[in-house]
């Protein structure tokens, strides 16, 4: 059996095991556990696609929250029924044709992703004219502009009131299915010639150009793909929490994603997955510090906001003292795992 076939088989088995575990949680887990697992999957999708731009292409893009917003609103508007929309938009009625459009969940997710990619394409020209800090601030500005628009365009987004009572379509199968598809698609991309071109732009843009690589084309490709998956994840998120409003998608969301990929290791998809899983789990575990604790002899009052202080400190410590994060730029591979387990390589 060749190495490729073996790895493919192991991958398929890994995914099967994952879905068996999910099935068990779905049947026997508590609502709380299922919720954390759903969050985890959405964060994995977001982190892996965010890492494609920030880690693989090496540009600091600070606007994924804009694409998540666009995806969430698009998808939510498409799954709401016409009657619900009429009830929700009490101040300004929803514009035609959004008020009559209605699509199945999966179509709405895809269209949410596409819509995010369309917006990404629209801003890509000013964005990729600049690099470094300027690119960071332009994308951050785009995130703010989208938030301002979501607040102001009441005929489309219902303004600050947001959309309520969405059908909770997102379950473990949807969220993890999308997460697995995202990981496969982005890993395939990174290991293709396009991915190598993106990495070469990260290392030295002038040298990459000299080798005949068009930076704009490759950065645009990464940006659009990342935006697409962020949009899909936004749709999942909307149908997971069932209530969306502009305040949900601030820069804060981007900051969380940044922590995830920095702690996981900028430039490593495996790292992004580990970071996202740790974040979804750790974020819940750390709720302890915000709740009053009673140790019997000692009462510790909860400190609201303490979690974010801890997250900020973790981010700074990692970036200053352990810049490689958990995985650095390495990826998980079966070869590595098997050699660790003492598997002897047979000739073939």
């Amino acid at each position: 059996m060749s190495k490729e076939r073996r790895n493919l088989l192991l991958n398929i088995m890994g995914i099967l095991v994952l879905f068996v575990i999910l099935y068990l949680f779905n049947e026997y887990g508590t609502d709380y556990q299922i919720r954390i697992l759903n969050n985890m999957a959405v964060f994995i999708t977001l982190a892996v696609s965010y890492n494609l731009v920030n880690g693989i292409c090496g540009i600091l893009h600070l606007g994924p929250n804009a694409f998540i917003t666009i995806g969430a609103y698009t998808s939510a508007l498409l799954t709401m029924s016409a009657a619900e929309k009429q009830m929700t938009y009490i101040i300004v009625p929803l514009v035609w044709p959004l008020n009559v459009l209605h699509t199945p969940f999966v179509v709405s997710l895809l269209l949410g992703g596409l819509m995010a990619a369309v917006f990404a394409f629209a801003i890509s020209f000013p964005v990729f004219r600049v690099r470094g800090d300027y690119l960071a601030i332009v994308t951050l500005g785009f995130g703010e502009v989208i938030r301002v628009l979501a607040n102001a365009l009441q005929g489309v987004t219902n303004g600050p009131l947001g959309l309520k009572g969405l059908v909770p379509y997102t379950n473990l199968w949807w969220s993890w299915g999308v997460a697995v598809l995202t990981i496969i698609a982005i890993t395939k991309l990174i290991n293709s010639s396009y991915g190598r071109a993106m990495k070469s732009i990260r290392e030295d843009e002038i040298a990459a150009r000299a080798m005949g690589i068009d930076p704009f084309k490759h950065l645009l490709m990464a940006f659009l793909i990342s935006a697409f998956f962020c949009g899909v994840a936004g749709g999942l998120l909307a149908h997971l929490i069932t209530t969306i409003s502009p305040t949900l998608f601030t820069f804060f969301l981007t900051f969380n994603l940044l922590i995830i990929i920095v702690v996981g290791g900028l430039g490593s998809t495996t790292g992004a997955v580990i970071g996202a899983a740790l974040f979804a789990w750790g974020g819940e575990a750390l709720r302890i510090v915000e709740r009053p604790t009673d140790l019997g002899f000692l009462k510790i009052p909860g400190i609201p906001g303490m979690r974010m202080v801890i997250f900020s400190i973790i981010l700074m410590l990692v970036i200053i003292f352990a810049r490689r994060g958990i995985m650095g730029r390495s990826e998980f591979s079966w070869d590595w795992l098997l050699s660790k387990l003492g598997w002897k390589e047979k000739g073939f």
Binding site: L62, A136, I137, E144, V145, M308, V309, M316, I320
Partner: protein, 297 residues
Amino acid sequence: MTGTILFQQLINGISLGSLYGLVAIGYTMVYGILRLINFAHGDLLMFAAYTAIYLIGIFTLPWQISFPLAMVITGLMGIVLDRCAYRPLRDAPRISLLISAIGASFLLENLAIVIIGGIPKGFPRPPMFDHVITILGVRVQVLTLYTPVITIVLLLGLLYIVYRTKVGKAMRAASKDFEATRLMGINLDRVIAITFFLGSFLAAAGGIMWAMKYPQVNPFMGVFPGLKAFIAAVLGGIGNIVGAVIGGFLLGLGEIMIVAFFPEVSQYKDAFAFVILILVLLFRPTGIMGEPMIDKT
């Protein structure tokens, strides 16, 4: 629109613009030397406002002492920020430095929430700034008039330091070439620390005046003024101190005038600055007064 209203808006715009300008100076100085957007710079506004509140409230100092003292403390805070968040990363890739800056900004905001709480606090405005006087038929709060004056005075002081003293010469040298500056026997870390002090000192002046203008001090009060001040710095030509103040004036006037002339777009006010930023970067990336930046690696 009548002449008086236009005059009124003009004064408001200049006042707001001078605040943007004061904060923009700090961005432009740090960017000139380190090529870093100091994301935490805006949060120093908040730091200064709270420091002033506590100096007045707890230590019951008169404002004449507590405001300058708060500015000095904020300046020192700027040095601490550089020492903890930026100096360890001098030789790191730029992306790390920027991430550290974002982390520092969130840390300051959330520490403020934990220590002080998220509920807005009122700012004790000294009665001296409270008067309302009438010029050419327009009623103006004197604070609105003091703000540009204070800005210009501080700007002149800063220009003196940068262009007439040895430290200033070292700063200008550092913004051109790190290695050559080091070879001239200049202690680069000290020069950078002084840059941070001066920038933060001026940001504190901006923060205190901001808090007097909008007396609701909360942990996130510095975020938007900070972002807009950075855009003002880009508009004026990053690295150029006078340009930063001019950019600030233009941005402040633009924001006020847009709302005055087209009230129906007032909801989009916060997006205006970013549109300006994109236009500047598209058509004149060096800004109004800037020269092309040398890429430091």
